[in-house]
């Protein structure tokens, strides 16, 4: 048995020597060639399935060597044996010549970089398409080529354009609304101003005629009547102060501001002096840092200081000895002005309401006021590019800090 199989393998070997072995019987370049050609056909089939355009271009002449069906469709190429093949620039547009020439002349180490270009085409049917082209170098059969792959990005580009358009539209709408809002704000302010202004005349006649009643009809009224007229006059004064406040608030946001160099120290000194004069009996110590300056509108800044110093004066009236400080400090390279008092202070939980108009923290029986002053101050500070904030503690005192963008440094 063993001998027989040995004999069989000897026979096989001998057949091989005589060229009758399986492998050498199979040897044929044609079958190899056929297989390779089938592979090539398969590759071409795959390339033609791609929707992208794939072009092979000779690097020296830039003329088209080969392309897939996708390229024929995208670039509307027609194979015609009589006409020379189109060049890359004819296909994608002559306007790309410069960038391609530059890319081709790049140094050796950059030669692996591919080049991306966006091109546009209007097809014969009138359809406008956007194409993202990616160019890379390749050597086939010792000849330098460019492989150019084109991807249709029309849908993406159209979406981008639509998005840009809607952005622009939105922006326009916002602008329009802002303009409308500014307009109605202005109208509102003008209204507030004229109302306040026009209210003064009738108010003055009420107050004036009240005084005439008291002076000329003194003997014809009983004491109760006189008392009523006094209440009426007090109401008139209160209303007058309210009108002043509304006018100040209105002024703080209207009209031009004139920036000039201001001597804050002496401005504050004058205001404090006036306050002393109104209540000479109070024991008040003021410490005003000398040489404080700023850049600002003199009228508005004065209003501002009047309010802040006035508040400090007013809300510390219940203390036997009042202390008011005005000065500056540097924090993070910024000049911060502060006005500090040892008055009744406020509850920090209510700090947000402090700068809102007509929102008072105290009742009239505690302290007189109309709740417009700090709102006005805030608007003035903000018009000067600064900000204002407050710290307080009930029964201990309050500190108002503010900055002015145009603030001059302490000399």
């Amino acid at each position: 048995m063993k001998r027989r199989s040995n004999k069989k393998s000897q026979q096989e070997l001998r057949d091989g020597v005589l060229g009758l072995g399986q492998k050498s019987m199979r040897k044929s370049y044609y079958s190899q060639l056929r297989r390779r050609m089938d592979e090539l056909e398969q590759y071409r089939g795959l390339l033609n399935q791609a929707r992208d355009a794939i072009c092979l271009v000779d690097m020296d002449s830039l003329s088209l060597v080969d392309c897939n069906d996708g390229a024929k469709k995208m670039f509307q190429l027609h194979s015609d044996k009589d006409t020379p093949p189109p060049t890359l620039l004819e296909i994608i547009g002559e306007n790309h010549e410069k960038i391609i020439t530059e890319w081709l002349s790049q140094s050796d180490e950059a030669k692996n970089d591919s080049l991306e270009i966006e091109a546009e085409r209007t097809l014969a049917g009138g359809e406008h398409i956007f194409i993202l082209l990616s160019l890379s170098r390749a050597v086939f059969a010792d000849i330098k080529h460019i492989v150019c792959v084109g991807h249709d990005i029309t849908a993406r580009r159209n979406a981008e354009i639509a998005l840009q358009n809607s952005h622009a539209e939105l922006e326009n709408r916002v602008k329009e609304r802002t303009r409308e809002l500014a307009h109605s704000n202005k109208e509102l302010e003008a209204f507030a101003y004229s109302v306040s202004h026009d209210l003064r005349a009738p108010l003055r006649s009420i107050e004036g005629f009240g005084q005439i009643l008291l002076d000329d009809y003194h003997g014809k009224m009983d004491d109760e009547g006189k008392q009523y007229i006094k209440y009426m006059q007090e109401g008139c004064l209160e209303m007058n102060a309210l009108i002043d406040g509304i006018l100040a608030l209105s002024r703080s946001t209207r009209g031009e501001i004139h920036i000039e160099e201001l001597d804050l120290s002496s401005l504050a000194q004058n205001i404090v002096q006036t306050l002393h004069n109104t209540e000479p009996e109070r024991k008040v110590t003021t410490a005003i840092m000398p040489g404080l300056t700023c850049k600002g509108d003199s009228r508005l800044i004065k209003t501002c200081l009047e309010n802040l110093l006035g508040n400090a004066w007013k809300y510390s009236s219940k203390k036997p000895h009042t202390q008011i400080d005005f000065g500056t400090k540097e924090e993070d390279g910024e000049t911060i002005y502060y006005i500090q008092d040892n008055g009744d202070g406020f509850d920090m939980n209510s700090v947000e309401r402090l700068f809102q108009p007509f929102k008072r923290l105290h009742t009239n029986s505690q302290f007189e006021g109309n709740g417009i002053g700090l709102a006005t101050v805030k608007r003035i500070i903000e018009r000067h590019g600064g900000r204002i904030w407050a710290k307080g503690e009930v029964g201990i005192g309050a500190t108002f800090n503010f900055t002015l963008l145009a603030a001059a440094k302490k000399s």
């Binding site: 070997l13 091989g16 020597v17 005589l18 060229g19 492998k23 199979r26 040897k27």
Partner: protein, 388 residues
């Protein structure tokens, strides 16, 4: 002429070849036909010195081919020489091989072609019908009329780590084109001329008596014996006679066509073993062994030996079988001595103690498959001992 003895199939494969003075100058045209651009030119130092390599490279360069020369090929080419050539072929991105030289560069080039087309290591292709795909295109310009490696299906590579020669036998490695130009044989020295001539005679004799011979191979083998017997002494006496050189070259080609298709026999099996074991020159080993093996084979191929006697122009009319055998082997022995191949195996350095191992390797050689008389190891040992 004998008719086919059995119903066995016979196949005949030969490369396209151009024979004649100036044939080598067609190399440019044929390289174009192979679709080549970058060519590995395989040769060796001796052939380079004779000028044939540079002439070929010049022609190819003028035709616009890029040539890379590979000259590190020794007689009995080694596996690592093949692999180095493959690396060079791949590095230079070659697409064809042109070999200029004798049996060694051609066998090396065949090895490079196999690996370039199929990958792997050359030693893994040892044996018969082992190469699955066509190798790199191979164009031969033989410069020694003898081995006929340029038309044959044989490649012999030395595995130096095993001190062994491996044979790769397959029609896949028959070269694509051979440009056989007798002029290139003019630069061979007398001893090399004698050895290659006797190698060719061995090819013709072994193909003729092969148990796979056929009418077609017989035609070539008989013509080869005629040409070589008539011209081998003349070529030694008048080495510059181009007509004699042409006859010898034609004889070698005819022998090559015969043995490449009918295969060989015990002489080559035993010579391969000697070449691998002691790195002895192939042609000389064949020459020493030939008459001994002929004597051994005689009674199994008497009819074919008649053709040999006729081809050698021996007067054998009325001879007994015994007389015929002695006459033929005597003439073979006389021819070899006459052309200056006089040493015995013993004088080449083969010792009686080597015989066992030599025979052991020879018995494995595929050439033995077509020897007319089946031989066992002891038979081979006896032949070696006779030739010592």
């Amino acid at each position: 002429m004998s008719s086919l003895l059995s119903s066995e199939l016979r196949k005949f494969v030969a490369p396209e070849f151009v024979f004649g003075i100036g044939a080598r100058k067609q190399v440019g045209q044929y390289a174009h036909n192979l679709g080549a651009k970058r060519i590995l030119v395989v040769s060796d130092a001796g052939v380079k010195k004779a000028g044939w390599t540079d002439e070929t490279v010049d022609i190819l360069s003028q035709e616009g081919f890029e040539c890379t020369q590979y000259l590190d090929v020794t007689p009995n080419p080694k596996a690592e020489e093949v692999m180095n050539g493959v690396n060079l072929y791949n590095e230079a991105q070659c697409d064809a091989i042109v070999v200029v030289g004798g049996g060694s560069p051609i066998d090396c080039a065949k090895g490079i072609s196999i690996v370039a087309g199929n990958g792997g290591k050359i030693l893994s292709y040892e044996g018969v019908d082992t190469v699955p795909f066509p190798g790199a295109p191979l164009l031969c310009i033989p410069t020694t009329a003898g081995t006929a490696a340029d038309v044959s299906q044989f490649a012999i590579i030395t595995d130096s780590s095993r001190r062994n020669k491996i044979a790769i036998i397959t029609k896949s490695i028959v070269p694509d084109v051979s440009l056989i130009d007798p002029q290139t044989t003019l630069t061979m020295d007398p001893f090399l001329t004698a050895c290659t001539g006797l190698d060719a005679l061995t090819h013709a004799v072994e193909a003729l008596v092969s148990n796979a011979h056929s009418p077609i191979t017989d035609l070539h083998a008989i013509k080869a014996i005629e040409l070589i017997a008539k011209n081998i002494e003349k070529v030694i006496q008048t080495p510059d006679d181009l007509m004699v050189r042409q006859n010898m070259t034609l004889g070698c080609l005819e022998a090559g066509l015969a043995f490449s298709n009918a295969s060989l026999g015990a002489v080559h099996a035993m010579a391969h073993s000697l070449g691998g074991y002691l790195d002895l020159p192939h042609g000389e080993c064949n020459a020493i062994l030939l008459d001994h093996v002929m004597a051994f084979n005689f009674k199994d191929a008497e009819k074919q030996f008649d053709h040999i006697a006729k081809a050698m122009d021996l007067e054998v009319k009325g001879f007994t079988t015994q007389q015929l055998r002695t006459s033929i082997t005597g003439e073979v022995d006389r021819l070899r001595r006459s052309v200056g191949v006089v040493r015995s195996l013993g004088e080449l350095g083969v010792h009686r103690t080597d015989v066992g191992e030599l025979a052991g390797k020879a018995i494995q050689d595929p050439c033995l498959l077509t020897n007319p008389r089946p031989a066992i190891k002891r038979d081979i040992e006896v032949i070696y001992e006779e030739a010592l």
